[in-house]
Symmetry: C2
Subunit: 423 residues, 2 copies
């Protein structure tokens, strides 16, 4: 767990060190993800003066991707330093049709299926690998539920670097092929994501993998910061203000904490007037350890063995769970979890009313939104943004959809099928 | 074939009428696609003064989608008039790795899989439906090889309008589900695309479908203009100049003619200094009527019965074939066609070297690029842009790709599989 090179490689950005989220111990910027004193997770720390100097105008003059926020990220300020597919600035879609069906007033969908490999993972991988490159790593790896594997393999292909990605053996075919096609090594593990993750942690300690960047293990603090851009973008796209409510899918729980962190940072810097936003978390009932802990009134996450179709969220031992609970409690939000059938209905409802075809994780968010409304937890009159983090084409098996009719090519066949009608 | 409303609905844009590509006969702007005198295809005609007034600055100040070029399109100048998923401004990716493998100097990939429904069809559908809405149509339809169906169904869902889309029954599952999920009517036709197209032409003549916009039939002149944006964007993204060579996939042949038209228009307006660009066309050997005619030295296209995996290009009777041949001859380009195995290799080569996972049509383009280089038709030293028009996730069956390894989650298993190695 030693960094291949010194921290001076990061002098061009606002990051100044790593800090333990649990005990506050401080470390230099390096490939380290856990505190040597308390084993707590590490987070990137910034020069607050450098952040405070960032203006709306500077961001608006930037490129149409996550790198417009490089002055707020731990790596990538110098364009030539970026290891990236240039993700980000995905659409924020006004969802009036969905709002009407749910009895809501103002609803938006942040659609991250528009990223290069069609999930929000391109954001975190771009930041992680840009940092990893500076730290001297020469091979890219990850433990993944699918989307992360797609993204790491594609980034490696673009960068001309070797990759080795690890996934549970029972992933959706769409996610397997979309990783394998890039030509790196794809290792299917006979076990759950949590088994995959444990193996990758062990590998980072071996001599053979000393120069391999596992984006969500040994360079995790940098990786996690990439998720902040999903907060920055929503606020900028709304005209430099945060929405009253957001609903975010939870796997490790990290994405939720980083969107919350982004809003807080923006208010501190003065990019938005207020960070006041109620943060809601969404899980599937097949893997709901964070929502269960919140409802039980505890911070202690009891790991579960995940089941169900929302495989990209199937992390049974979620590392950032306690921090997600903290953010939800602090902001006055809540969490809910939904069944596989509710997830399927959520995918269809979103598609039918917005034209956005989400993967199962997006179905989880829509179904959770509906549940939180029914429970009276979420205010239907307050402006709400929901996050779709992935693409329906990757989880086709979850949606049973077929042609509504099959006929021969003639007007007679049209008439016989009852299709020769006006509106 | 009468327009539901008058042409005055188009007064906000630069379009002034329709003109026959064959005999030059002129018509007002309406839902008409064939000349009443010679049955030739109609094309949108513009007020040349209005086009000439368009500046780089005006375009650059526009939105990050096709609508920045609205002053050059037949509909959509007024933002509130748009029926759209806001496609366009997709990445132009520098492909140094692919160039190196092919012995080329400067190569770019225009990646239109980044559009909302992940193909270039979102461009043409947005323009067609925006025009159709103004013309009073209240239902959206198309004849499709898959991508167009995806796009029309998604646009209808976003707009809250009913849709009825027609496809050959043997489409890829990815394209069927991604249409059906939006909830419109999806009619599978027991026949080829050309059968589907014929049926749709017949339907436009029925009373029951009088107010149905078939985007590629009765509003085809508007639809076709949407493809110009794939020329505009490449030129703008290169810093307001056209590349020396482009390679474009051909189904009807229309996309190729419109990219060529876009370059010519831009030079006439003064947005670029020169329109000089050699235009190359790509087909699959299972459906190569345009390339065959070019090689035979004729303009007469002999229809074929399409076969092969590049289903999105399987139009056996390509309407714009003669115009594609004209553009290729005039600019000093050429055409080639490639086998299914070459297409599969093309998909893998592109993925492995650029991180872009293309559908079969993209594989056709990469394989054709390689063939044209081998034949000495295309200059490896001249700057070249190739177009990827669709997404690999929609044609997964074409790519056999699987995990490279399957092991138990332990270091011992890693060692036994020969994976415990550094680079």
């Amino acid at each position: 767990m030693t960094a291949p090179v010194s921290t001076s490689v990061f002098t061009d950005g606002p990051a100044v060190g790593l800090v333990c989220r649990a005990c506050g111990a401080q470390y230099p910027l390096a490939a380290q993800h856990a505190c040597w004193q308390c084993f707590g997770p590490l987070e990137v720390e910034y020069d607050t003066d450098a952040l405070a100097a960032v203006t709306r105008e500077r961001i608006e003059a930037g490129s149409q991707d996550i790198w417009r926020y490089a002055p707020l990220l731990p790596a990538g300020l110098e364009p030539s330093s970026r290891v990236t597919l240039n993700p980000g600035m995905t659409p924020l879609i006004r969802a009036d049709g969905l709002a009407a069906e749910l009895g809501m007033k103002t609803l938006w969908v942040k659609d991250d299926s528009a990223n290069p490999t069609h999930s929000f993972k391109d954001r975190v991988v771009s930041v992680a690998l840009t940092a990893a490159d500076r730290l001297g790593f020469d091979r890219y790896a990850c433990a993944s539920t699918g989307n992360l594997a797609n993204s790491v393999a594609a980034h490696a292909a673009r960068a001309g670097k070797p990759s080795m990605v690890f996934v549970p053996h029972d992933l959706e075919p769409g996610k397997i092929i979309t990783t394998a096609v890039y030509g790196g090594r794809l290792v299917a593990i006979e076990g759950s994501y949590d088994d995959v993750n444990r193996l990758c942690s062990e590998l980072t300690e071996t001599d053979e993998f000393e120069t391999t960047a596992f984006v969500n293990v040994n360079v995790r603090p940098f990786y996690a910061e990439g998720s902040k851009t999903l907060g920055y973008e929503v606020a900028e796209q709304l005209g430099w203000r945060v929405p009253a409510q957001v609903v975010i899918p939870m796997a490790s729980g990290e994405l939720l904490t980083k969107v919350d962190k982004a809003f807080t940072e923006m208010a501190e810097i003065g990019l938005v007037d207020s960070a006041e936003c109620r943060v809601f978390g969404a899980q599937s009932s097949g893997c709901n350890p964070i929502a269960t802990a919140l409802r039980a009134g505890t911070d202690e996450i009891t790991p579960v063995k995940p089941t169900g179709i929302a495989k990209s969220l199937n992390i049974g031992d979620p590392a950032a769970g306690p921090y997600a609970i903290e953010a939800v409690r602090r902001t006055g939000g809540w969490m809910a979890d939904v069944s596989d059938d509710e997830i399927r209905d959520g995918i269809r409802l979103l598609a039918r009313t917005t034209g956005v075809f989400a993967e199962t994780a997006g179905g989880v968010v829509v179904a959770t939104l509906r549940k939180l409304l029914a429970e009276g937890r979420l205010d239907p009159a307050a402006e709400t943004v929901i996050y779709n983090t992935g693409e329906g084409l990757k989880t086709l098996d979850a949606v049973q959809a077929a042609p509504t009719h099959r006929i021969r090519p003639s007007l007679t066949a049209m008439r016989d099928a009852g299709l020769l009608t006006s509106l």
